[in-house]
Subunit: 251 residues, 2 copies
DNA sequence: CCCAACCAAATGTACGTACATTCAACGTAG
DNA sequence: CTACGTTGAATGTACGTACATTTGGTTGGG
């Protein structure tokens, strides 16, 4: 193991230099499978274990690396199954929390081009897109109409899947390895059109949430989603404190 | 300074015991004005400075206490002007970001009792409540109808304030010292009633957000709020990533 | 062949020391 | 009375040591 050097004369603390070093090497994919232990790092960089621990402290707190007594330290596991965050996730988990079974009716599932959506995904207008339109049911009652577009070049393996019961993000991760890691969504309050009311089987005096979501995977726009959720029995619930704002699944 | 003792035989680490101790004493309001230094604490509890630093690490990261080189350590300053988090805050800041001036028309401002609200605030049904009803304008156009109830015993000083231009949370902090530190809100999509449409001066085909919020101050329910926001031009916007979910103010 | 005991490895806890760095307050010189 | 330098206090950085605790593999006995 070639000893590596840190600048001892500079003003930057040793532990911070080491922290940057480790993050750089992590980004380079250097520690797959196994992450070196504290003593190993201390020897490799010629610093004390105390300094190594200081450098690792934040990485461990952030979950970048995992360390436990007696265990081989590892770099953060496959980084959770791309836990879908956001209003949609909150809504659907709240339905599950209420004890209602969920399933979907796949109304359309094909490859097509859509100039408007392509633009939002930062693609050429004629780029083929996998398009999935589902009516989502909670219990036996329609809950939402969900439309998703993904670039066909990477999402084509999805066409084999049956989305009656499985989740899009789960299949996406399993069949293509893609995990959506960042996104932005807008939540609007709207009055459904007559056609939408029919699809959702709701009364004429019911409003709805219209949610637009653009998700990225490693910087590339990967999913455009439009969801219309019945507003009569489902609400967004959130808790906030000094620690921040968090959507919660209510019962 | 009477030396205090920590259990050295128990399984709980010393630094964690010390951390709990300090939090307890903080809650008891013991360290207003000045927080003891690391060496002081080390001597007082008979532990090493290293252990004290470990105990203080999280408190400092959380901003509970502030420490800087050379400075007298202090307990967290007045803790920002109770930054109002949540959907409402997001909506109103997005309006400001759009360059529109905001002001309110105070429609009702008195002390009254309300059994339903009192129950939500965990009070007796006949408890007097300060009630403030405002029509909030962005530019010169109605944006939202805002109703707030607070326990009169603590909120009475608010009655002197003019809420045409000032914010409730700012006045609450200034006049009573109360800062709302925790809360929960529900966001519903609804169709406004005819009366509400008139108040908000919006068309008949416009939906709205109905937001209920219950806020606490130091564990005590302190504010019940009901806000109806026009849904035709205002939306919730959020970003999400591995780091979490955050409402943003769009332009 | 299986299971238990042991051992090596790794992190967690806790002590000690030394020096650097920063800030505020005090005192002195001008 | 002001400006500057000194000094004390506090945290930051970095080193060292020792032992406890947990885990997983290895080894040896039944």
């Amino acid at each position: 193991m070639a000893p590596r050097t840190l600048s001892r004369s500079g003003s930057e603390p040793l532990w911070r230099q080491l922290q940057r070093e480790l993050l750089t090497r992590l980004d380079a994919g250097e520690f797959t499978e196994q992450f070196p232990g504290e003593l190993t790092l201390a020897e490799e960089y010629g610093v004390s274990r105390h300094t190594v621990r200081q450098a690792l402290r934040q990485l461990r707190a952030d979950g970048v690396v995992v360390a436990e007594r007696g265990r081989q330290p590892r770099v953060a596991p496959p980084a959770e199954i791309a836990q879908p965050l956001g209003a949609l996730y909150s809504l659907f988990t709240s339905v599950e929390a209420a004890g209602l079974a969920q399933h979907s009716i796949v109304r359309t599932f094909d490859v097509r081009a859509d100039a408007l959506v392509a633009e939002r995904l930062d693609l050429e207008a004629s780029t083929p897109l996998v398009y999935l339109e589902r009516l989502r049911l909670a219990g036996d009652e329609p809950l939402a109409m969900d439309r998703v577009w993904l670039p066909a070049d990477v999402a084509k393996p999805l066409l084999q899947a049956d989305f009656t019961h499985t989740s899009l993000y789960g299949e996406l991760a399993r069949r293509t390895g893609i995990r959506l890691d960042h996104g932005r969504e807008e939540v609007h309050a709207v009055i459904p059109t007559a056609a939408e009311r029919t699809q959702l089987a709701c009364a004429h005096d019911v409003a709805a949430f219209a949610i637009n979501r653009l998700s990225h995977s490693q910087g590339r726009p990967m999913e455009w989603r439009h969801t219309l959720v019945r507003g009569d029995r489902y609400a967004l619930t959130a808790e906030f404190s000094a620690a921040g704002y968090r959507l919660v699944s209510q019962s």
